[in-house]
Symmetry: C2
Subunit: 492 residues, 2 copies
């Protein structure tokens, strides 16, 4: 962890003059930063956001825009879905673990409807329409979608299925202008600006400043090579993103992600985590990762996915991020989709109606599964028996092995092909600073570090191992707000 | 992480009087502590070991005693095995990752033969005989055994197989008196005592003491409720074991191990890690775990192991700790051994010649695999097809799916049974403080923390995710020595 500019805290006594000051100083102008800024300003604080790049947005503005919300939001109701905080909690506990922070999950679920209203009040628009096709995100401007496998095995037996992926209404994706993440960030930033939140760009936050009692009272930043000391009278909020682009941290904590960062930005260098650790901050779930799976879900649901031994390991109709996790973390990153010609064509046709989904071509094509197996170099019988068992039950419309929904269960016919999906994963890290429900950063002693708050992907949020799309913008915005409130209320 | 006695460092300026002092103070009298003590004393330091329990030994004295050594040790040569540092490095890199500390592995392998001689010079005895039967450890007093799957798929193709599990000669296990771990610790403790190493027992190390420059200059301990301040003129060595018994840390980092600690002792509460983190120490691979699999390897090799879907997932003749890891971490802790009557009896007979191996009874028995599958409640065809594919190749003496060695490949006949091995795992944690090759504890800034050294399972050693038996006593003793040397040479 060679560090040319130290992450060690700087003593306030070394600061002869503060270059800037504010009640609440927020490092990072992504989803956690902007929500913290809004709430801190509403609490009456003078707020300054420091952003490393030339503009607001962070990874959030580039994201699909899912916010994981539920418990019976107006959008869920408008689309005809029942949900409750308890039901949402049951799903999240099962799907995002093992080892979830139960208090955080309960808190998040209990206040999810209120958080929906808060976002809407800030100007975020959710179109009252549900997208039910297999896919990563709605291709048009629909507002609601399943985004974590809630309606798939095994989670549909744990909790009543309800879609919770809430997507801010975007312009048509075919125009390519503004995605859901941008449409989330834009009204929030406007809200912050109207509240008088100041922002400084091209400011790299490098170090925390602490007083003699160990309280965080500011940050040291760098802009065009010049160092600036910035005073935070009430508190500092770290909202600087994940460590997906810190190679040494990825090697030390999430090595299966080496060389495959995704859905993240290069500014996600883990520095906020290191700055916190330098003060004795606790971390949690540093191995946890979101894992995207690069394949068209419209094809996945119509075939069977097998690992390097020709065995099925995941219901193909679940959340593709779960497929990515199980592939990378439990099946040596080896996956093949076995699909017959008719199903492949049907998948391609379904996708052709939606923009921007890349079509993967089969690598092997054969007249029989026997031939396909041989072409793929699998042991004799390995794939044939997998297909036989699948087809035997599919003929009756069921999938007792993995519980794929009957609507997608069809015997695999001929000619048949295999898509080579080895190495088709990438992702970002989910572990980080351990925080309270008020987004205070916890010291390893169990007590909060005075004056230090954090939210977003530099913290360990609602995900411990599993993932659902929308939980990052979800806990980032939810606990970003908490951070802003707590920092603003901290006595100066 | 509620902490009634804070893990925060205490300023030296608060200490009015030191109760005890030494050049090098070592916290913990297990394998890392004793080897640090010996080397520090040999460097001329006045050494004091502080042990929480009433006697020396730690988890090491209760362990089987494997020390992972290779590269061509005299014991390997005497037993007829070739090995080299490069070969050992290739195996360890493949088997103990992903994400191993490559510099540490290279260092460990390069000096492994010298470390063997060092142990022997301290009075540790290795009997020149090889135990080649499937099992966890030699049941008698043989000195050498495969202990990491070196001669099994897939690792036997990565490096030339060589056994590296070196077991100190013990009295016959049937007498039950002294195991390999005890026979390792005893001569080492005697060596330390002869060198004048002092030890204080019933001393719980609670906090580090730092001077105004941040250098570690002592520890605060507690004995029978009384607090003592102990000065370390040259350095403090943390050798306090894993965090397997710290429930909150296990939940935060290795949640699949919740409720199943094993091969560990209750003193392994993670405190050394927290004390280091409170000074800004970096940690690594906190999710990594050793995982034991409670089943007789003599049975495992003679059957096929299937997961909850009836699929094989591991060559049954590999290191049982690898079976444990793949079962717990990648197959939902679900495993069944499918074995025919003849093979079960043969396994039982093989085991009856060795003491203390518990015999597991079949849960289901049937005349055919079809019936067995139905009794187990598996989907029709799931197990039948697995056995058919296995038997088809076994008839030709091969296992192309997983590469079980031909000597153990025999078609599964009838009558046939299944052993229920769900939940048959337990283990300990492998993650911890990040250290240099000189066992200095690294700050997250990348620089060593002055005066602080660590070794053993409170550090991240040669294992990143995988495991081999002997690597804990191996890197504990190897880097314990380095810690003792470095602390003793640190200027007072």
């Amino acid at each position: 962890m060679t560090d040319p500019v130290s992450v060690r805290p700087r003593p306030a006594s070394d600061i002869t003059e503060w270059d800037l000051d504010a009640d609440v100083v927020i490092a990072g102008y992504g989803i956690a930063g902007v929500t913290a800024a809004i709430e801190a300003a509403r609490e009456g604080a003078d707020v300054l956001v420091l952003e490393r790049t030339g503009g607001w947005g962070g990874a959030a503005a580039l994201a699909g825009g899912f916010v994981y919300l539920g418990g019976g939001t107006p959008l869920q109701k408008a689309c005809g879905f029942d949900d409750s905080a308890e039901n949402m909690k049951a799903f999240m506990t099962a799907a995002l673990g093992p080892g979830v922070d139960e208090a955080k999950i309960a808190d998040y679920c209990e206040h999810s409807v209120a958080h929906y209203h808060w976002l809407v009040d800030c100007g975020v628009t959710f179109k009252e329409s549900f997208w039910g096709e297999p896919g990563w995100e709605p291709p048009f401007d629909d507002g609601l979608m399943y985004s974590g496998g809630e309606n798939s095995a095994p989670f549909h037996t744990v909790a009543t299925p309800a879609p919770r992926g809430h997507v801010p209404q975007m312009s048509d994706k075919r125009t390519g202008e503004k995605g859901g993440g941008y449409m989330l960030m834009e009204p929030l930033v406007h809200t912050a600006e109207k509240l008088g939140v100041r922002a400084e760009y091209d400011m790299r936050v490098e170090t925390l400043v602490t007083d003699a009692d160990g309280r965080v009272v500011g940050v040291i930043t760098r802009r065009y090579g010049r160092e600036l000391a910035i005073r935070a009278r009430r508190g500092v909020v770290l909202a600087m993103g994940s460590f997906a682009y810190n190679q040494q941290m990825v090697e030390a904590f999430a090595p299966r992600l080496i060389g495959r960062p995704g859905a993240s930005i290069e500014e996600h260098d883990g520095r906020a985590i290191l700055m916190g650790q330098a003060l004795g901050a606790a971390v949690a779930h540093m191995d946890a990762t979101e894992v995207a799976f690069v394949a068209d879900p419209q094809h996945l649901v119509r075939g069977i996915l097998v690992n390097g031994r020709g065995q099925r390991y995941v219901p193909e109709d679940t959340y593709p991020g779960r497929i990515g996790q199980l592939t990378l973390l439990q099946n040596d990153n080896e996956a093949y989709l076995i699909i017959d010609e008719q199903a492949y064509e049907a998948g391609a046709a379904a996708t052709s109606a939606t923009p921007f989904m890349q079509q993967l071509q089969p690598k092997w094509v054969a007249e029989t599964v026997d031939e396909l197996e041989a072409e793929m170099g699998l042991p004799t019988g390995a794939l044939v028996s997998t297909v036989e068992v699948y087809n035997r039950h599919a003929a009756e419309g069921s999938d007792p092995l993995l519980g794929k929904k009957p609507e997608w269960v069809t015997p695999i016919g001929t000619p048949v092909a295999a898509l080579d999906l080895r190495g088709h994963t990438m992702g970002f890290t989910l572990g980080g600073l351990r925080t309270t429900l008020d987004s205070e950063v916890l010291h390893v002693s169990g007590a909060p570090i005075p004056g230090l708050y954090a939210a977003g992907r530099c913290t360990s949020g609602v995900c411990a191992w599993g993932y659902a799309s929308g939980t990052s913008l979800g806990d980032g915005s939810f606990y970003g707000r908490r951070a802003g409130i707590a920092a603003a209320r901290n006595p100066a």
